[in-house]
């Protein structure tokens, strides 16, 4: 069958994503998210045709492989924000580290308190960091990378949708504070919203996204090494 060829999953993904991207251009709204719409469309196609995920993913993984080099490429926004701003950076990094620690502990605590299974709880732990890092961390803590990817996207969407409004209501007006909060809580999708808020918010959000990923990776690696997770 044609679906057994890797180009099936590759073509399906690229075409679905392109179509969803066009849709977003036409109806610009945070909920018209090309990632969610394309994924849902692909799931419908696979279910309709009775194609297994593994079959589809022979082509899909040709794309997701590039998340590794893409993470390395985040060095550009990261260094761009650090360069003009060195004096305030250590304090900003400390604040982001506190926020990221809250993200890990609060997610695990709430999930356990409400009776989530161990697999779901472990998959929730890295939800606030950018997907390529979150996926690595999901492997490390014994979660499921696919589940983690969805939690990461939902977390990003939430920050994207209500982050700036919530911060405004809470009396946070400093643009750098808004950027740091968005990048720490909701990684790249939150950073996309920060880009609409202003250049200072965008720069701070990129820095927070990158450092939150690094800090959370170190935190979880250490917690894993001493046997906490």
């Amino acid at each position: 069958m044609i679906a057994d060829h890797p180009v099936f999953g590759l073509a399906l993904t690229v075409i679905a994503y392109y179509t969803a991207g066009r849709l977003q251009k036409r109806y610009p709204h945070p909920l018209v998210n090309p990632l969610l719409i394309a994924s849902a469309a692909i799931v419908v196609v696979l279910m309709t045709l009775g194609i297994e995920y593994e079959t589809y993913n022979q082509g899909g993984r040709l794309l997701s492989f590039w998340l590794g080099p893409a993470t390395v490429a985040l060095a550009i926004p990261l260094s761009r924000q650090i360069r003009p701003n060195r004096g305030g950076i250590p304090l900003a990094l400390a604040i982001v580290a506190i926020g990221s620690t809250v993200a890990v502990i609060s997610a695990a605590y709430l999930a356990v308190a409400l009776g989530a299974s161990s697999l779901v709880t472990r998959s929730l732990i890295p939800k606030s960091v950018t997907t390529p890092i979150a996926i690595e961390l999901a492997h490390l803590v014994g979660g499921t990378p696919s589940l983690t990817a969805v939690f990461v996207v939902l977390t990003g969407l939430l920050g994207n949708l209500i982050g700036p409004e919530l911060l405004r209501v809470a009396g946070v007006r400093n643009p750098q504070a808004v950027g740091l909060a968005l990048g720490t809580a909701s990684h790249g999708i939150g950073t996309a919203r920060a880009l609409h808020e202003g250049p200072e918010q965008a720069g701070s959000s990129s820095l927070a996204m990158g450092w939150a990923g690094i800090w959370t990776a170190i935190l979880i690696a250490v917690a894993h090494a001493i046997g906490w997770v």
Partner: protein, 117 residues
């Protein structure tokens, strides 16, 4: 050749990160270490941003496309999500709001109202 040069730098640093990751006593993802190493190289001027841009711009500009196959992978977990929907949603929303407020409030208080201390 500019594209190939930028790709070489990018995958070279990724490879370097994976190599460092393999010898470290704690498991830090190689792509994260590659990010740290490349950021340092950019800040010290060892690598110039322009020489990196052609490949990096393509990847960062289409990051969501690269995530798509992973999100599609959730279809095997639909049953599990349904059964645990309440704990999942409460944990996601509660934790995200807590991080937004704590990070935003701390930054607002410590970084000064003009945002450039």
């Amino acid at each position: 050749m500019e594209e190939v040069r930028s790709l070489s730098i990018l995958v070279g640093f990724h490879l370097l990160g994976e190599a460092v990751s393999a010898v470290l006593p704690v498991r830090i993802p190689g792509n994260v270490l590659g990010l740290v190493l490349l950021s340092s190289a950019l800040l010290t001027g060892i690598v110039r941003e322009e020489s990196l841009a052609p490949a990096a711009d393509v990847l960062l500009g289409n990051l969501m496309l690269l995530f798509t196959p992973i999100v599609v992978g959730t279809m095997g977990f639909v049953g599990l999500l349904g059964k645990e929907l309440v704990p999942i949603l409460v944990a996601l929303v509660g934790s995200t709001l807590a991080v937004l407020l704590i990070t935003g409030k701390l930054s607002d208080a410590l970084l000064g109202k003009d945002g450039r201390k």
